[in-house]
């Protein structure tokens, strides 16, 4: 931490930066929305003494520039002549300060952390005559934020508030009432040489110390395997070799738990992943699955010669430490996955799902080393917004789930859908192909990200792991995309992959796995000098891709990237040696046998068991005031409107949007899934939806997983997706699976995935697991609830035959499709009542697929006007949303609701209103189509339960005919909008 504080009047002599200092503020007569936001956030922290906050954009520029040059740069590039005022301060001079300002807080990224604004200045000036320096010297720039505050506040309170709202210690330095900001590059005293690590004679204790201190995250068993390998070779490993092994064997890259051997209560599982998820896909053998599980994303056939692909990733640990940067690089990484699938796909949609702690958590209860969940959520939303919007990819689907167990370990899921021509589905690497590194430069960013993601967080994580955090630069990635898709269409490369976790080591190790590769690390373009070969090799600097280019295309592909202003550097070649050979200049800094690297991981037998929690079943207690309960549910964080998030994402860019995240008369209805029409010449479309139910997970992991799949499917089917052409993705986030109970829950969830996927005929095409999501506070370890996010990508035969969830016209009939069970376990109703236990919803795998097929046939035939799935909050919430979204009334009768036999402890009204049983929908049908609709649903569980009217009220009659809910839709809409709003 390097916050520097001083009282204004007792200021010691400062070393003012040896650079021109420019600060651009908004004209004093204009409001300052950034300042207003900060005042609001200060007030949340109890700081009310500050009466005005204004943000200045600060720039430091090379001191050798002439004043006239600086003025030109400022007026031409940094400031707007209508909106801004400018202060210019000469090098080493004290800066001018705004009128009446009592305190200044300067925030600047730590040396070496990505500063894309500074890069843009440097790049623009290098191409222009605006501010030339003698001898061709490049103008250097750094940027900072200058906050100016009016109001009497003591420095300590200001520091407290500033660190929570203005800056993030992990990546930024803060100066309070001091002006001595730095104008430096990262320290340049790293050892350039590669070193060898004595391992062969190390004791177990020493081996573990080496693993821990090197942040390698290798277990003793794995360290033994490494030691034995090098004993056989009769030499010690180099740091590059050891790092490569650690990255490749990391849980993040290898998924060694999910694919490992497990003893589950005496039953032997050789490979959980192959025996469940992958097995379902293999058995289903859908001919529209083009490429599954082997590439960066799953590819499925779309329309004509076009395919679509989908990938969802987690970026949990980086987002816990730096929500903005972590979420941004999370989405940046999954976009690169799609750019790197096959020969490259064009990203056409993003998704994001967040799981965070309670947003109204008392500040005093935020554990040490953690951020308030509110700050985390704001940060991750802003991170996804700034990356996705800048890339020009519509963010169309997602969700927010809240649970106290996510306080120390929030989950951030980011997904990307891509569009690609069929011919681009396959890649191959040939010996002799040039290894071309494309995109951003390499710095010390994100060293050890892969291994960091595989460890448990604790109070000190934000200090020790700061280097594991990366900051993204979406415009660099957009440049790479622009060049890449042009090079793809000219067929200038044979294979590619993205640099993600593990950086070049994973990317090249993976691409060269079948043949071999030789890399010259000194050729990798660097952001600044001083990186050791090992650092270059494992850096997770963002926005980089690796291509395998036939030598004859090298000049042409370089020209393509040069036209986009993208660095493309040959750093080696693929070989036929079956070895990974690393050089720095003439010197060999590592030689690894690729077979050992990819196959040498020990496969220990892990023990798993599952002990169901014994909690008394509370049934469904009667609800004395169902209307009040409904309003409370609508306001609860999992159900309340996410409009404040949705509106910050550009969900219209590319012009393909057909069903949007928010629908209805006033566009405030929560849509079930998004529909896009990606090809201008075809009416075929895709639907994108998701499902997750962390509240179910700790009660019944099997039911949780099965219900999550059901939810994802009913969401896409509700808008018109074809259940016979739906692909799904699994993303598990779990606690520490060294704990047999956690692993046992994972076994059950994975088995549920198999059974449910096969029953519905919906194959998994891609997935990822993130284990070890735990947080240590003192002696207590808090594990997240078992969380499975299922994402669904469905084919929609005709964009014109899609539906939204808002009620359309008075007089139409309302049907309820699906059977309601006494399944209140994990429900939001019991949650509101503070009750635990109960039977968790699970789909009836024999009936549910037929239910979906029947409903789809009715939608496809144009027989329905609206469809809304029943999920969190059950029938009551779905009906309320349908009514207010359509700004129409609904009159429903619970006595008609098709119900399984209920036990005596299940109140008939409460169960029908609030049970979260799977595979249910409310469907609106015009009278003229009623007969055909009923024919389409013949044999399925469904019933007419009411009617749409023009009353503007939601009326629900109980099983005995009495009115139990009668509320104006505006009150329902207001409650739905009444949650946290950023």
């Amino acid at each position: 931490m390097s916050t520097v504080t001083a009282e204004l009047d007792s200021k010691p002599r400062e070393r003012l930066p040896k650079a021109w200092r420019v600060e651009v503020f908004r004209r004093p007569d204009l409001d300052d929305p950034d300042g207003a936001r900060v005042l609001r956030e200060f007030a949340e922290l109890g700081v009310r003494a500050v009466t005005s906050a204004r943000l200045g954009r600060g720039f430091l520029l090379s001191p050798t520039l002439a004043r006239a040059s600086v003025e030109r740069v400022v007026h031409e590039l940094c400031a707007d002549p209508v909106l801004d005022t400018v202060r210019i301060t000469a090098p080493e001079a004290a800066p001018k300060i705004g009128h009446g300002v009592r305190h200044r807080v300067l925030v600047m990224r730590k040396p070496g952390v990505m500063d894309s604004v500074a890069q843009t200045i440097e790049r623009t000036l290098s191409r222009s005559a605006l501010a030339a320096l003698p001898n061709g010297e490049r103008v250097r720039a750094l940027t900072y934020q200058a906050w100016e505050f009016v109001g009497e506040i003591d420095a300590r309170a200001l520091e407290h508030a500033a660190k929570r709202t203005l800056a993030n210690d992990v990546i930024e330095d803060v100066w309070i009432d001091r002006e001595d900001v730095h104008f430096t590059l990262p320290d340049d005293h790293a050892v350039r040489a590669s070193v060898s690590v004595p391992l062969r004679d190390a004791s177990d204790e020493e081996l573990l110390r080496i693993s821990r201190q090197g942040c390698l995250s290798l277990t003793l068993l794995e360290m033994h395997a490494v030691r034995d390998h090098f004993r056989a070779l009769e030499r010690e490993p180099t740091d590059c070799e050891l790092e490569t092994i650690a990255q490749t064997w990391s849980e993040h890259c290898k998924h060694k738990t999910f694919a490992g051997k497990i003893d589950f209560q005496g039953e032997r599982i050789e490979n959980l992943f192959k025996e469940t998820i992958q097995r379902a896909t293999r058995e289903l053998a859908r001919d529209w699955c083009v490429s599954v599980f082997k590439d960066n994303a799953g590819i499925v056939a779309f329309d004509g010669d076009w395919d679509v692909c989908f990938k969802v990733e987690t970026h949990n640990h980086p987002s816990a430490i730096d929500p903005y940067g972590g979420a941004g690089t999370g989405i940046g990484g999954v976009i690169r996955d799609v750019l790197g699938v096959g020969l490259g796909a064009k990203p056409i949609a993003n998704t994001d799902c967040f799981f965070v702690g309670p947003l109204d958590l008392d500040e005093a209860r935020v554990p040490k080393g953690c951020m308030h969940p509110k700050r985390i959520l704001r940060g991750v939303v802003a991170g996804v917004r700034d990356y996705g919007n800048r890339m020009g990819i519509p963010t169309v689907n997602g969700g927010v789930w809240v649970d106290p167990r996510y306080i120390g370990n929030p989950l951030v899921y980011a997904g990307t859908v891509g569009l690609m021509p069929r011919w681009a589905a396959e890649k191959s690497v040939q010996p002799g192909d040039v290894i071309l590194c494309v995109g951003g430069r390499t710095g010390r960013d994100g060293i050890h990200g892969a291994t960091f993601s595989s460890i448990e967080l604790d109070e000190s994580s934000s200090v020790v792991s700061s280097s594991a955090v990366q900051i993204g630069d979406p415009i660099t990635e957009k440049r790479v995309q622009d060049g890449l898709l042009r090079a793809r269409d000219r067929r200038l490369y044979r294979a590619l992959t993205d640099c993600g976790a593990g950086g070049l080591s994973s990317a090249i190790g993976e691409m060269g796995a079948e043949c071999g590769a030789r890399v010259q690390l000194e050729r990798v373009p660097l952001k600044y000098p001083g990186l050791s070969p090992a650092e270059i090799w494992i850096s997770e600097a963002q926005e980089r891709m690796v291509l395998a280019v036939p030598p004859e295309h090298l000049d042409e592909i370089r020209a393509v990237f040069a036209a986009e202003d993208v660095d493309a550097t040959a750093i080696g070649e693929f070989t036929d040696t079956k070895k990974l050979e690393l050089f720095y200049g003439e010197r060999c800094v590592g030689t690894l046998d690729l077979h050992f690297l990819h196959e040498g991981t020990p496969r220990p037998l892990r023990s798993a068991r599952f002990t169901p929690r014994v909690v008394a079943d509370p049934g469904a207690p009667p609800c004395p005031n169902p209307g009040a309960m409904l309003l409370a549910l609508l306001r609860s964080p999992n159900i309340a409107s996410k409009e404040w998030i949705v509106r910050q994402y550009d969900h219209e860019v590319q012009g393909t949007s057909a069903i949007k995240p928010l629908v209805g008369e006033r566009e405030d209805g929560p849509g079930d899934a998004a529909v896009l029409q990606p090809l201008a010449h075809s009416r075929a479309a895709i639907a994108i939806g998701c499902g997750a139910n962390p509240r179910y997970g700790s009660l019944d992991p099997w039911a949780m997983a099965s219900a999550a799949i059901d939810e994802a499917l009913r969401n896409v089917v509700a808008v018109g997706g074809d259940p016979e052409r739906t692909a799904i993705l699994d993303n598990f986030s779990w606690g520490n699976c060294a704990n047999p109970e956690q692993l046992g829950a994972l076994v059950l969830a994975a088995r549920a995935c198999y059974a449910t996927s096969v029953a519905f005929g919906t194959p998994f095409v891609s997935g990822k697991d993130s284990l070890n999501n735990e947080f240590r506070v003192g002696d207590e370890v808090i594990a997240i609830p078992p969380t499975l996010l299922v994402s669904a990508l469905a084919h929609v035969p005709d964009v014109a035959h899609t539906t939204t969830m808002d009620a359309k016209a008075a007089g139409n009939r309302i049907y309820l499709v699906g059977l309601t069970h006494g399944e209140l376990g994990g429900s939001h109703y019991l949650g509101e009542l503070g009750l635990e236990g109960g039977r968790v919803p699970r789909p009836d795998l024999a009936l549910a697929p037929k239910q979906l097929a029947a409903l789809h046939s009715a939608i496809r035939a144009g027989l329905v006007r609206s469809v809304h799935d029943l999920s969190e909050g059950g029938l009551a919430v779905a009906a309320a949303e349908m009514a207010f979204a359509g700004r129409l009334g609904l009159d429903l009768s619970l006595s008609a609701v098709p119900t399984a036999e209920l036990s005596a402890d299940h109140d008939p009204n409460a169960t029908r209103l609030f049970s979260e049983s799977c595979t249910r929908f409310l469907v609106e049908v015009e009278d003229r189509h009623a007969e055909a609709f009923e024919r389409a649903l013949a044999g399925r569980d469904f019933a007419r339960v009411g009617v749409v009217d023009a009353s503007g009220r939601l009326k629900i009659r109980g099983v005995k005919g009495q009115t139990i809910v009668d509320l104006p839709i505006e009150e329902l809409a207001a409650a739905h909008q009444g949650g946290f709003a950023g």
Binding site: L30, P33, D34, A36, H75, E76, L77, D80, P81, V82, L83, S116, V117, T120, I121, T124, S128, W306, N389, R390, M391, G392, I393, P474, I475, K478, R479, D482, R486, A563, D565, V646, R647, Q648, Y649, D650, H651, E652, V653, Q654, G655, S657, A658, K660, L662, V663, G664, E665, E667, Q677, L679, A680, H681, V799, A800, T802, T804, D806, K808, S866
Partner: protein, 279 residues
């Protein structure tokens, strides 16, 4: 290389008359509305071509044979130094003459969203060769302080812009963080009105005066777009090119059958205007 990537939309009937109208769509790092912009131009009857600004800066004469010049939406250079600033700087530095020539001979210029911000930065909307210090209009950060993506309704004003029909209402999405139309002082607004430069305003769906969120950004007098005094240079924040199909509209499932999105008419008329001016 520069062919638009619209995935092969076939020509619609009736566009052949204007097919010889060539439209240059400039792109750069961070341009991201090129797909829908090219599609709109194509369906509107023009032949769009994408060109990178670096190529254009090197050879400004490349602009000469075109009738329409479009700066599409996006985040040019990340908007790192201010919305549209760096691309504006490049156009000011390298293309000032070519653009002046282009407008003078009757060329049509359109800037959408980031393109509007770029046009404002160049000063072109206030008349050819407006000095930087003389500039009177700007696009400020939204009053909400947030990026806003939502559908709005635009009303075409009686303006110099040749392809807008006064009074017509146009549903379109906005998606921007810096779209608050701002003037240096009242005199600037007066001048814009005198010159009939106020082309588009945000209104409620029924055409009446809008407040937030119908006016999404706090623009002065709810101004969504202005043209230059010739009426041939138009900048607007919303995206008509994202309302081309019958299914783009956010409430299409509540409306009757639709043949096309309202944004297509905007582009068709612009292409027709450019075609007429070129003759």
């Amino acid at each position: 290389m520069n062919a638009p990537k619209t995935h092969g939309a076939p020509n619609s009937p009736g566009v052949l008359a204007t097919r010889n109208v060539r439209a240059l769509v400039v792109r750069t790092a961070g341009t991201n509305c090129d797909r829908e912009t090219c599609l709109a131009l194509e369906r509107g009857g023009a032949s769009p071509e994408l060109k990178h600004v670096l190529e254009l800066c090197e050879k400004p004469a490349l602009l000469d044979p075109f009738s329409i010049f479009v700066i599409p939406g996006g985040f040019s250079y990340g908007d790192d130094l201010g919305a549209g600033r760096v691309l504006g700087f490049q156009l000011r530095t390298h293309l000032a003459d070519a653009l002046a020539r282009f407008v003078a001979k009757g060329g049509v210029v359109l800037g959408v969203c980031n393109g509007f911000q770029v046009l404002a930065d160049t000063g072109l909307l206030e008349g050819v060769r407006t000095a930087r210090a003389e500039r009177g209009v700007g696009l400020d950060v939204n009053a909400s302080g947030r990026f806003e993506c939502r559908w709005v309704t635009l009303k075409a004003e009686a303006s110099a812009c040749a392809w807008l029909e006064p009074g017509e209402l146009l549903p379109v999405p906005v998606a921007h963080g810096e779209g608050r139309f701002t003037v240096r002082d009242a005199g600037v607004l007066q001048r814009l009105k005198q010159n009939r430069q106020i082309a588009l305003r945000y209104v409620r769906p029924d055409g009446s005066r809008a407040e937030y969120p119908d006016c999404p950004n706090g623009s002065v007098e709810e101004i969504a777009g202005i043209c230059d005094p010739t009426g041939r240079v138009l900048g607007l924040m919303p995206h008509p090119e994202r309302n081309l199909t019958p299914w783009n509209h956010p409430r299409w499932t509540r409306l009757g059958p639709r043949a096309e999105g309202e944004g297509l008419r905007f582009y068709r008329r612009m292409v027709e205007t450019a075609s007429a001016l070129a003759k």
